[in-house]
Each structure stands twice: as structure tokens, then as C-alpha cells.
Symmetry: C2
Subunit: 212 residues, 2 copies
DNA sequence: GTCTATACACAGATAGAC
DNA sequence: GTCTATCTGTGTATAGAC
């Protein structure tokens, strides 16, 4: 029963149930809208028992944000390791990032929207971590521009923001029981980021169907 | 002093101060994170006086959501009225929408993120209104596809979601005191939605710098 | 139309037995 | 490690004077 040589995946520890339940509730109701009563209920324990495992409600949010941003950093590093050109690296960044965010939706959505609920010290630290991740992507985009692989008429800053726009909002409408898997959504969004939504004239007569 | 023949724009009514303050606080702290004390403080009155002007805290959120979605519907209708082709209509939809959302950031951000805090009846009504607005855009995108103006290898559903991805997330990083105006951000995002971020080979040799 | 005072529920967190 | 019981602050909302 309380033998700690559990076979893997059979039983989750109480603290893991709390963490996963917290991510789900925070995403669904927001941090302020989630009570410690709800947190304990979803973990199957009483309110008071919660404090044996975690310091408090805010600690749960802080830990969630930090670990999630570390996961993102790991994803980005893997793209840097595997990409053989700036554009391929960027493709790996985008597709692996959105796939990870959608698969681990509760934690990523919470991290993206509830940073404001952290105390100011912790908020500053978490924002710095997030900005560091964004800076990595911006670096790749800058390299791709210099290599002539990305358009140069838009500043790297806004090419970066636009990419995160395109990827991040998916977390609000993604349906795990829907018709597309996270990987497929990443593919579609990357296609649009690369070529846009407008149908280009086939390479028959002119090079591009330019407008205006 | 309490003469109600005020010249326009000199003094806002108490209920307007409450509504505007509520939008700002809801965006910054979330609905659950905003107290009636804070709402009354930002309007310059005591807590109790709040209830002379509004039914309660949730009424403020509900009214904000409904009126904001009506504003969006009006913006979309103006695009339908003014556009002379599906692609021009879509451009007007996208650029006017993002401009409106960024100029009226507090209300739009709140509507986009706090619908979950409404009671279930009101939430259903508000979501229906939102879905109706999205359906209008999807209709335009479908027409543009049929006219051969938008790529057809991605379903209209996802071309629509991708467009809203690209536009909506801007509300989280837009800085009113930043270097770009809402109109310019709309222009950049529309450029990317149309042509993508990748630099196309100039129409010299081949039609497109195709990859993979 | 605004105020002071307050009702009453519920929040996060703790004490101490088992 | 979990429980019952409880503390204390704060939440939304109301009563009633001015």
C-alpha cells in the first residue's frame, strides 16, 4: 500500500496529483478563481492535508511557471541542436513548441495567462525566464534574416511576436478530442507562417501574383 | 456641479467611470482577482455606492462582453460593406479588427479571457455571439478560397483560426506607449498572413523558392 | 446619489489529534 | 500523512441615515 517501490505509472504521488489538478483548475478557472478547497478535492484529500505537500497556493503557481518555462527552454535547445540551417531550426522551434504546449495544455496555458497573479518578485523572475526564451527565438529569426531566408522588410522583433501570436493562441481553442492532433496543428500553422494564406500564382507566367 | 447639461467630454458619468475602471482592472488582475473595493476605488466612490449604479460585479462583466462583441460585429459589417472583393473584405476585417481591439484593449482583452467567469446561462449567450462573429469571418475566407484568392490546401476553419491567432495574441504584448500604433501592427500582421515570413525568390529565375 | 456601518459567506492557512 | 476543528482576513452585498 505505502510501499514506495511502486511500479511505474500505476499510482501517482499525492504531490503529483495536486500539481496536475492545480494546472487543470488554474487553466479552467484562473488562479484567483481556484480555491484551496477545490485543489484539495481534485487531489482527493482534505484542505489541511494540502499544506503537508506544498507551501501554499501561490507556490503551486510559481513552481508551475518555472518548470514549464524550463521545458520550453529545453524544447528550444533541442531545435538549436538539431537544425542544420536557421530556417530549419526555426521550423523545429515552432513545431516542437506548439506541440509541447498543446500536449501539456494545462500547464502552458496557466503559465501564459496567470503570471500576473504571482508576487512581484516571483513575477519578475518568471518574466525574465520567459523573455530569455523569446530572445532565443528572436536570435534564430535574426540569423534567418541575415541568411536571406526570411523577409527583411519586417523587423525581427515583429516577426518573432507574430510567430508567437500564431502559435500561442491555439492553446485557447485546441480541443484534445477534436479532429486534429497537436502535431498537425503545428504543421498547419508553420505552413501559414512560411508562405501565408494567399494562393500564389503557379510559376507559369509571372513569378508571383503580386497585389497592390 | 450636479447640473446634467455638461458639455461633452468634460466629465464622465459615474457609471461610465465604473465601466472603464472595471475593464482596466479586469484586464490587469482578472475578474476573480478584482474586488468590489477596487472597482469602487477606481471610480472614486465607496463600495456601497457601486450598487446604486450596477446590479453587481458579474453584471459589469456581462455587459462588457456583450457590448464589446457588438462592437466587433459592427466592425465586421463595415468591412463587408466596404470590401469590393473577398480578399479586400478580409483585409478590412483583419486590420480594422486588430486596430479596434488594441485601441480598446481593456474591454477586448477582458472579453477574450474572462468569458469563463460568467454564469453558465450568460456564458452560453456570450459564446454564441462570439461564434457568430467568427462565422462571419469564416464565410469571407470561404468565399476567398472559392474565388481562388486563398490557398485551398488548408481548410477554411483553420485559415480562420490562424487569422485570429495572429491578431488576438497581440493584445497581450501591445504597449500603448510603444513604438508602433495599432494601425501599424495591423498592417504588419496582415502582411504576414498574406505572404508569410519567408523571403520569396524574386521573379528572376524560378517562380518560388520552394522547400521540401 | 453617496455615505457609514455591518451582515454573512468564504477565502487561505494553521493547530493538534490520530 | 491525513484528518477535524478553527482562526482570521477578506469577499460581495445590503441596511439605513443623510
Amino acid at each position: 500500500m505505502n510501499d514506495d517501490s511502486n511500479p511505474p505509472e500505476l499510482a501517482k504521488s499525492t504531490v503529483d496529483r495536486i500539481r496536475e489538478g492545480a494546472a487543470e483548475l488554474f487553466r479552467e478557472r484562473g488562479y484567483s478563481g481556484t480555491t484551496t478547497r477545490a485543489l484539495s478535492a481534485v487531489a482527493g484529500i482534505e484542505k489541511a492535508s494540502l499544506y503537508h505537500h506544498v507551501g501554499g497556493k501561490e507556490d503551486l503557481l510559481y513552481e508551475l511557471c518555472v518548470t514549464t518555462l524550463e521545458d520550453v527552454a529545453t524544447v528550444f535547445q533541442s531545435a538549436l541542436d538539431d537544425g542544420t540551417s536557421p530556417i530549419e531550426t526555426l521550423e523545429l522551434v515552432a513545431r516542437r513548441y506548439v506541440e509541447r504546449a498543446l500536449v501539456d495544455r494545462d500547464r502552458h496555458a496557466t503559465m501564459l495567462t496567470e503570471i500576473r497573479s504571482l508576487s512581484s518578485d516571483r513575477r519578475a523572475e518568471v518574466i525574465a525566464r520567459r523573455d530569455q526564451n523569446v530572445a532565443v527565438v528572436r536570435g534564430v529569426i535574426g540569423q534567418a534574416q541575415e541568411a536571406g531566408l526570411l523577409r527583411a522588410d519586417i523587423d525581427a522583433k515583429y516577426l518573432t511576436l507574430a510567430l508567437f501570436n500564431l502559435l500561442n493562441w491555439s492553446i485557447f481553442w485546441f480541443d484534445p478530442s477534436g479532429d486534429l492532433e497537436p502535431k498537425e496543428i503545428g504543421q498547419i500553422l508553420w505552413m501559414i507562417y512560411v508562405d501565408g494564406a494567399v494562393l500564389k500564382a503557379p510559376p507559369a507566367r509571372k513569378g508571383r501574383g503580386s497585389r497592390a
